[in-house]
Assembly symmetry: C2
């Protein structure tokens, strides 16, 4: 079977972790009998500085025909904050209706977590973040800007359609995992959005009678996530809360080096996108020190999405195996370079 994959290396350590991921992907191909047809796409901060191009129609056309996108990282101190986020990332999520941002929060054996005494058995949850609406719609306005009477209004727009597809996805996932679905919101304060989210969960839950449902305020969840992550199995939440709690989740699971994510299109209208959740990390770029595990685990999520379940499991298992042997989770302390880690994981996949 042939899968067409767009590869966006991007900036900083993006190219380094993508190189390692492609090495692993190559091993998985020969081992599991599928073919990945790669198309390299130039995009990101350096591309923008050189060409002024962000989310161009030509780029969209090129990406639209692909089965998935492997994404490194974007960002450079020379590009003003917000430009790439709004001009590229959010446009991609929206144009390709990547409705779900999926973020496993899993403590892998051997990984150092900042949480005292936390064990892998106690930390294995998935956060399902709405990825196209809420506070991310870019709606707002300011009156009397720059005066003592300035008023800035920022809107969060939540649609039943947008919420329902994410909630349904989360229920299906909870059913498969045999776990509880927890809605995370702040419905006692954000009443209108809260009613929409809670009633959608209530309605959809009827179709998933075996899935226990829970509700936790976002502030309480930020208290519980680092202290008792075992409370959670699948958490569904809105775009902004999801952004916040997944970074906290990354901290709990031992750092940005190991955290993977998927931006999933659910209706076939465009490709899904897979990326480690770390940024371009310009401070450590070019040294070959970057931890590629997050990118490799994102590649595994990509393979699962493409229907290559056996390959996905093999890649994850290999990454997890190597991870358990690293002295630390990122940086020079790893002992092995980014490229060496890629090769080690690849050869494990091959001897699977």
């Amino acid at each position: 079977k042939v899968h067409r994959l767009a590869v966006i290396r991007g900036d900083g350590i993006g190219p380094e972790v993508i190189d390692a991921s492609l090495e692993v992907l190559a091993a998985a191909q020969s081992e599991f009998g599928f073919r990945a047809e790669l198309t390299e796409i130039s995009a990101g901060a350096r591309h923008y500085l050189a060409t002024g191009e962000l989310w161009t129609p030509a780029l969209q056309d090129q990406l639209r025909g692909q089965d998935a996108i492997l994404f490194g990282a974007m960002g450079d101190p020379a590009v003003a904050p917000g430009i790439l986020e709004r001009g590229f990332i959010l446009e991609m999520r929206r144009s390709f209706q990547q409705a779900v941002n999926l973020r496993p929060v899993k403590l892998y054996p051997g990984v150092t977590t900042p949480i005292a005494g936390l064990t892998p058995e106690r930390c294995d949850l998935v956060i399902v973040r709405e990825n196209t609406e809420g506070s991310y719609v870019g709606r707002g306005s300011t009156v009397h800007a720059g005066t003592p009477h300035a008023v800035a209004v920022q809107e969060s727009v939540n649609t039943r359609m947008g919420v329902e597809r994410v909630v349904e996805f989360a229920f299906r996932l909870a059913e498969r995992r045999g776990g509880t679905l927890t809605l995370c919101h702040k419905k006692n304060i954000l009443v209108e959005a809260g009613i929409l989210w809670q009633s959608t969960v209530d309605d959809v839950s009827v179709r998933f009678p075996t899935v226990p449902v829970d509700y936790v305020h976002v502030d309480a969840l930020c208290f519980y996530l680092p202290t008792t992550p075992e409370r959670f199995n699948v958490v569904v939440t809105d775009n902004l809360f999801g952004d916040i709690i997944t970074d906290l989740g990354a901290a709990v699971q031992g750092g940005l080096g190991v955290a993977a994510s998927a931006n999933l299109n659910l209706d076939g209208s465009g490709p899904s996108m897979f990326e480690a959740i770390h940024g371009s990390a310009p401070d450590i770029a070019g040294r070959g020190w970057a931890n590629p595990i997050g990118a490799v685990l994102s590649t595994a999520m990509c393979l699962a999405h493409l229907g290559e379940g056996a390959a996905a499991r093999a890649v994850e298992a290999a990454a997890v195996h190597i991870l358990a042997q690293l002295p630390a989770t990122a940086g020079p302390g790893m002992g092995l370079s980014t490229a060496q880690l890629g090769r080690e994981i690849a050869s494990l996949v091959q001897s699977n």
Copy 2:
């Protein structure tokens, strides 16, 4: 000097921790030569269930003449979520223009934190949360409610006046503490509100040339707060982000049992309010197990606000001293009952 204090015990463990606090307050009075004239106010979930009353005009009149409010906790499973929060707490913050919600995140010696290897030296920051506007204004609307086409819009309203008074307060605090002021927001996405917040910080910073200024996205802050709290000294943020990160802060500092807070009026138009950040905890109410340290430390913040600096320092020191000797920070494991702890702290204050 006479200070008129309203006391709202509220529900659950509220009365228990207030009793302990009043014991400490009595000791402080005799020791530091001021007088607290207490007015007991009945309010909260049980009061609401019995009378249907929340934030009544009579109550407001009674409270308005007070110098400060000591608040236990509110809440009961029999009252629907949101009723007391919106009908009482938010009304109080708004009516009395309690512009700042002040939350120290301080790891006291001897307290068990969930963060591996964290030491008190590395965790001593203050979060300054805007307390009257943002997403808490209760503005929103839903069209096509209850249909597949429902759209819920939720608004965050941010005024230059509201933001500036909080930012100014935070700068003054950072100056006094000799630390950095960090703005926490999500300005790359919430552009309108973000510009208002950042430009206010920029403008006010001119008047505080000795205070270094930093900016951290709220998601990144949730990554750093549990891993490297020493990055922060004073953090200023909006109402919703503040709600979220202060609960995370409470987790980092070793639990809700020790976390204190102040809702500060800055212009003399109404009393400020002081409360532990824990809730009414109906599950442990009535057993005498509740940890009163959060309430006692809130009482210390109250004393500082009333100009009784020496008494405030003595109460904090006594609470911290006792805390260091407790086997755990909350629950039956404390070894001492709520009342015993109150008495121990009180007698330490007296032998000051």
